[in-house]
Amino acid sequence: MASSDDPSRREGRYDRRELLRRAGVGAVSVGVAGSGLGQAFYGPLRFKGRWLKGDLSLITWAHFVPSFDVWLDKTWAPQWGEQNDVQVKVDHILNTLLPARAQAEVAANSGHDIFFDLAPRAQYEDNVINHNEIVQEVQRKVGKIGRVAHRATYNPKTKKYFAFSDNYVPDPVVWRHDIWNGIGMSPNTWENVRKAAPKLKAAGHPLGIGQSAELDSNMALMGFLMCFGSFVQNEKHQVTIKNKRTVEAVKFMADIYQRGETDEIFGWDPSGNNNFLYSGKGSLILNAISATRTPEDRGLPFANDLWIWPIPRGPHGRKGYEHVMGCWWIWKFSANKAAAKKFLADLEINYRQAFVASKFYNFPSFPGAVPFKQIRKLVAQDKHKPLGKYGVLTTIAQNYTTNPGYPGYTNAAFGEMFSKFVIPQMFAQVSQKKMSAQDAVNAADHDIKQIYAKWRKLGKI
């Protein structure tokens, strides 16, 4: 057996003493260098000579208006981080993946400090902090929270803000002026829409009011119901869908489908009605202004003929939901709650930048953050034709936009009903002549009542 004293074996190897000596020298060197360059030794960056107060991670959607994400990631988050000595990390995922991601973070009890979704998620009430403190802080700076945001994020039963809304998106009707002009009509009322439907379809430009299992169909049809005086729930959060007005509305929409739409309205995902419009085929959809911004950006030939108006008037006036309700929440497990609260409060207090970056898509949930007077001035500067077309958004926001669940508050039961697409299902059953209007309404009423009973039992409504 070769001995360790054998010189041929020692070459390039250290004995124990030599190894310890070299390791000691190395450790001292790293320590000295580290103490001189704090960042190298301790890791995180620092701003303005102060140590970091921690990291802050947030997850949000990939915005329909990409310039908003550029502003958030490259301007707002780094600047805010520098001012507050916090390293901010922003992740973006597809909006349809957010619910699964939220569930996963709750189950793992770890994840991002701040979570964003496009709708109020009251079901997470027990997993999030009370956001009242942030609301109060913003109210001190810019004034009262808007009615829509308050009713979408507050649980009157538990007296808790289960989310903090920074924005909502007005939901107009987007229509092709050139095509409607060709038949001498406009979508001012639902009766006009019904009358125009066969003429538009005959001209090769059907209507595009979705009846699919997706967000935009939900929003359009529930807005339509409200124009007919029908609501899913009342102020006391009792189910009120089963009434004559709902039956009348469902029959009316079935008539619109049979006269002026094609089967494609049953097979859409949230981008379906947008693509329908962009293809040049569609004459009308109900959607946010991302539906007009994309044709403008792409230079589509009919971009200047896309007009936006408030939802058509029905027998009971005009009423619609916001198209998107931007809701942030801070998990109970968040490691940096103080920074998270300040981040959200500062974002809203300075919302003018966000509003401009979103190209007027994100309306502030606190009206005082960007007053309507200012919004009108900003919107008037938009150069896209017809000039001033975005001015109507303020009218829609002020007069015709309500929270999901109006006239009650948004709650977990309404959320589940929404996620299971009970309302599009009810409409489609009648449009496709699979059920009578009364039977479809009865079936929806049965389903919704079951959902409400479950959440009532859980003490959330």
Binding site: Q103, Q123, G267, F276, S419
Partner: protein
């Protein structure tokens, strides 16, 4: 050196321990057991627990016994989802079985371009599922379908009367079945090919001497010998199909109405448990498939064993 010599018997004793088949087998299998327990057994136990609770979000809830199962059992949406899952599985697997059999037989023969054809047939299995499904989604798109563009430009349909592959109930079910079949077919072809290749040449020769050719040879010789492996391919196909969510969710999200014509047990469980915040109910829905698939698996494995030709 003396110490080394003294240590030898001890190390031998250790080796002897591993020489025992029972010990060695246990040691070798233990990583797999730990892996399966941690990644399959753990979540399964959790799902079973959740299904008996009223958990909404997170992993805690109050015990509610069979209430979740009872409520879903009477829910028409769940009943539709079960029926659609049955149709989706049976029809797609019937097509896969026949298709894979035919393709495997064709690929067994020598012809120019055989390897390119094999590669092309295997491609759907190798391609990332999300990418290929997006391609299919655009092909079936309501506004931009290349299929419909062709139909319109061939003057077979008017622009507003084209088939709506993802918007008409029967077409939507047909579309998800077609795409799933396209995706799973290569796997079955590979298994069938392996099965066919394993039949000894002598058997074919003996059959030829006995005068068995064509369908007669297939029925009496090839099919019985191929049955065990075909059963295994079918079993995999059934499990993959019944538990698949990607195809349906990306193409139709369970739609179109009425009765959400392509809603499956998996998508309904996802909508209930994850999107609607009713984790307990969602878990109970997802567990419905477990006993059914377990019974199917046991039955098919028993059948495969019985049909084995030694």
């Amino acid at each position: 050196m003396e110490a080394l010599a003294a240590a030898r018997p001890r190390s031998r004793r250790w080796t002897d321990v591993f020489e025992r088949p029972g010990v060695l087998a246990s040691v070798l299998i233990s990583p797999a057991v730990v892996f399966v327990t941690a990644l399959v057994g753990g979540p399964l136990a959790l799902a079973v627990w959740l299904s008996f609770t009223n958990a909404t979000t997170g992993l805690h809830g109050k015990w509610v016994g069979l209430e979740n199962f009872r409520r879903e059992w009477g829910n028409p949406a769940f009943q539709h989802a079960v029926w659609h899952t049955f149709l989706f599985t049976v029809i797609s697997q019937a097509i896969v079985l026949v298709g894979a059999g035919l393709i495997a037989h064709a690929l067994l023969k020598d012809f120019p371009g055989k390897w390119i054809l094999r590669f092309l047939i295997l491609l759907p299995w190798a391609a990332p599922i999300a990418l290929s499904l997006m391609a299919w989604k655009w092909m079936f798109d309501t506004s931009y379908s290349i299929l419909n563009w062709t139909l319109v430009h061939a003057h077979l349909y008017k622009p507003l009367d084209v088939p709506q592959y993802l918007a008409q109930p029967k077409l939507a079910m047909g579309s998800v079945i077609a795409v799933h079949t396209w995706r799973i077919l290569p796997f079955a072809v590979v298994i069938f090919l392996a099965g066919l290749s394993s039949i000894p040449k002598e058997v074919h020769d003996a059959a030829a001497i006995d005068g068995a050719t064509g369908f007669r040879k297939f029925w009496s010789v090839t099919l019985p010998l191929q049955l065990p492996i075909a059963t295994v391919a079918l079993l995999f196909g059934i499990v993959f199909t019944a538990t698949d969510m990607a195809v349906v969710y990306i193409l139709t999200q369970g739609g179109p109405p009425p009765s959400f014509s392509t809603e499956m047990v998996t998508t309904w469980a996802y909508k209930t448990g994850v999107e609607s915040g009713s984790l307990g109910a969602g878990a109970s829905i997802s567990l419905v498939l477990l006993p059914v698939l377990a019974l199917v698996s046991i039955g098919m494995l028993w059948f495969a064993r019985r049909t084995e030709v030694s």
